[in-house]
């Protein structure tokens, strides 16, 4: 299985190898990665100033909201393996909170944005009892319970007085200039997305993230190694709900209306899950990629059709393709192909009489610190 692994480090002192993972990384690739990140942030930062078309910036705001939501969803579902199909509950809770609170407390204009953290907090509080119940079961049962949560929430929103029932509610409309109306929403969405991605990145590298991934692989075994599974997975759900609630609140303020069937939308959950799977479950960059690729596609398809369901059909088909051919997502599978291509090149070189080059291990999820140190040797 692990044939081809270089034998270095077998006989040496055990402490020498793990203490220096950084020097063994390729400085060039780190530099390139860092530069790429800076370029990406710069592009996203100036995007609405360059592309001023309202339709385009409209797409961009929704896309950034989805970057935040999918990252937040992945932070819980991707890391822990508990697939939630009920994140619309947190999204919608945040949304309704914003509308009701803005009305009751007379928030208007930009000051409404101050309600976003509060909306996230409300969604996070809701997540505690929901999580305590649903996280007692696993896998398919958990999925079914989250779907049930979703329908309970939708039913409640359609019937309660506070949500305006099926006639809905209207959030305040900010008096921004029409030409740059979308920009404040864009930058707030960018901020929430950045918080979500950074949070996912920090957790992915932390011991807490390791415990989440251990729960994903084998929860009982993890418990037998001292991992307190319930607090770990519940806190991940609460964090995820917090971000999702903020994103939902921003979304409802942006679109300017709150109807139960749109605030609690089953297609929202499917879209989030698809974007997560598409990019790569359990990675940090995967959900970002999934949202950046699929959400504009979906918006564009909606724009093309006035009464059709081509977006839904296409997304359903895409879901099948992803599950069948890229079950681990574009990024992990892509990284795997890249590694095998590199290994093939290395073999070719060594056959041509060059010095023997170690063949790297197959790459795991991106961001696994250990993997890159193995792969560091092969490009000489």
């Amino acid at each position: 299985m692990t044939a081809g692994q270089p034998a270095t480090g077998t006989t040496g002192p055990a402490t020498a190898e793990p203490t220096q993972p950084r020097p063994s990384r390729l400085p060039a690739s780190r530099l390139a990665g860092g530069a790429g990140l800076v370029v990406l942030i710069a592009v996203i930062g100036v995007f609405p100033l360059v592309f001023t078309n309202a339709t385009v910036t409209n797409f961009a705001v929704i896309t950034l909201i989805f970057v935040a939501v999918v990252s937040a969803w992945n932070l819980f579902s991707g890391f822990s393996g508990y697939l939630s199909l009920g994140h619309a509950v947190f999204y919608g809770t945040g949304a309704y909170f914003l509308v009701v609170a803005a009305k009751d407390w007379n928030f208007t204009g930009s000051s409404v944005f101050w309600l976003l953290p509060l909306a996230g907090l409300v969604a996070a509080v809701i997540a505690v009892p929901l999580g305590l119940i649903a996280l007692r079961v696993r896998r398919h049962t958990f999925v079914v319970i989250t779907i049930a949560y979703f329908f309970i929430a939708q039913l409640a929103a359609s019937n309660l007085k506070v949500t305006g029932g099926s006639s809905g509610l209207l959030p305040p409309v900010p008096n921004y200039a029409a030409s740059t109306f979308n920009n404040p929403f864009y930058y707030v969405a960018m901020l929430i997305a950045a918080i979500a991605v950074v949070l996912a990145w920090v957790i992915r590298r932390s011991r807490y993230g390791l415990q989440l991934r251990a729960i994903r692989d084998d929860e009982d075994r993890a418990a037998g190694l001292g991992v307190r599974a319930m607090p770990v997975k519940l806190s991940a759900l609460v964090l995820s709900a917090f971000i999702t609630g903020m994103a939902g609140a921003l979304w409802v303020y942006f679109i300017g209306e709150a109807f139960p069937q749109f605030v609690f939308d089953p297609l929202f959950d499917l879209a989030v899950v698809l974007m997560g799977f598409f990019g790569g479950l359990g990675t940090v960059a995967g959900p970002v990629l999934g949202a950046l690729v699929l959400e504009p596609t979906q918006q564009w398809l909606y724009l093309q059709e006035t009464n059709g369901y081509s977006a839904e059909i296409l997304f359903g088909a895409l879901f099948l393709v992803v599950i069948l051919f890229l079950p681990r997502g574009v990024l992990p599978t892509g990284a795997e192909y890249l590694t095998s291509i590199r290994a093939w090149i290395a073999r070719r070189r060594s056959q041509e009489g060059g010095p023997p080059v170690p063949v790297p291990e197959p790459a795991g999820q991106s961001g696994t610190a250990g993997q890159s140190s193995t792969a560091a040797g092969e490009t000489s």
């Binding site: 692990t2 793990p18 011991r207 037998g224 001292g226 197959p362 250990g370 193995t374």
Partner: protein, 268 residues
């Protein structure tokens, strides 16, 4: 750090099946205790009862003076009881080193934690796979990994469920040597194993389970001579070779086949 592990009068039934009835077992501090018995005799159930994976109907479990009956698995681990599973359970999508970092640690910084993990991997002999995904390891390597990460938090008592099951003879020797070395360092072991050579040469004490009841307990020599043990294994059928040789060959001498053949393979 070491301690005596005691189970007293443990009973457990699954519906109408009495898996354990009034089982008592002691793993003396600093010794290696073997738990043997035919398939379905309740060995793994007793392990599960001790480590919090199974609620018991009656009885008590003590670690030293501390009563740990009914504690959840993560509590039992925190008290100082580590265990491996019969069907080896590792985290396949984490690297070997990441697997080692899952167990809870007391007062170790990240860097020291990693160093400690690598020392243990070197000790068990899989340090060169530290950066490989655990799912790519062979079965024997997984056994070693599971043994390694159970040791990370330095438990007082280690429960091993078939440490030699399904691994090749030279690796069995390797595992036996590691266990012996750890035991000399003071660690208490309780192990379930079908490989009689392994059990008889390694263990100070052996307890025999049959149909959920303890039928014998004592030194390997005493247990070997106990007619109830032979009865439990062979059902008193005459003419069969006894499963336990009078003179146990050294661990790893597999020339005459493992006792698994006699005992009908591993249960599960």
């Amino acid at each position: 750090m070491t301690a005596t592990l005691r189970a007293e009068g443990v009973s457990k039934s699954f519906g109408g099946l009495q898996a354990l009835s009034d089982c008592s077992l002691t793993a003396e501090a600093g010794r290696i205790t073997g738990l043997i018995g035919p398939n379905g005799s309740g060995k793994t159930t007793l392990f599960n009862a001790i480590t919090g994976y199974e609620r018991i109907d009656a009885g008590e479990v003590y670690l030293g003076d501390r009563r740990i009956t009914g504690a959840a698995p993560q509590r039992v681990f925190a008290y100082g009881v580590g265990r491996t599973f019969q069907l080896t359970r590792i985290f396949p999508r984490l690297t070997v080193l990441e697997n080692m970092l899952v167990p809870a640690q007391r007062g170790l910084s990240g860097r020291r934690h990693r160093e400690h993990a690598m020392e243990l991997l070197s000790f068990t002999g899989i340090a060169n796979h530290a950066n490989a995904l655990a799912g790519t390891l062979s079965y024997g390597q997984r056994k070693l990994l599971e043994l390694s990460y159970v040791l990370v938090a330095d438990p007082a008592v280690v429960l091993l469920d078939e440490p030699a099951g399904g691994v090749n003879p030279s690796l069995i020797n390797h595992i036996a040597a590691r266990i012996r070395e750890l035991n000399q360092g003071g660690k208490t072991f309780l192990l379930v194993e079908h490989n009689m050579d392994f059990v008889m040469s390694l263990c100070d004490q052996v307890t025999v389970l049959d149909s959920g009841t303890v039928v014998a307990s004592g030194t390997p020599a005493e247990v070997r001579a106990d007619p109830r043990v032979l009865d439990a294994y062979l059902g008193g059928a005459p003419g069969d070779d006894p499963p336990v040789a009078a003179e146990p060959p050294a661990v790893g001498d597999q020339s005459r086949g493992t006792p698994d053949d006699v005992l009908g393979g591993s249960h599960g």
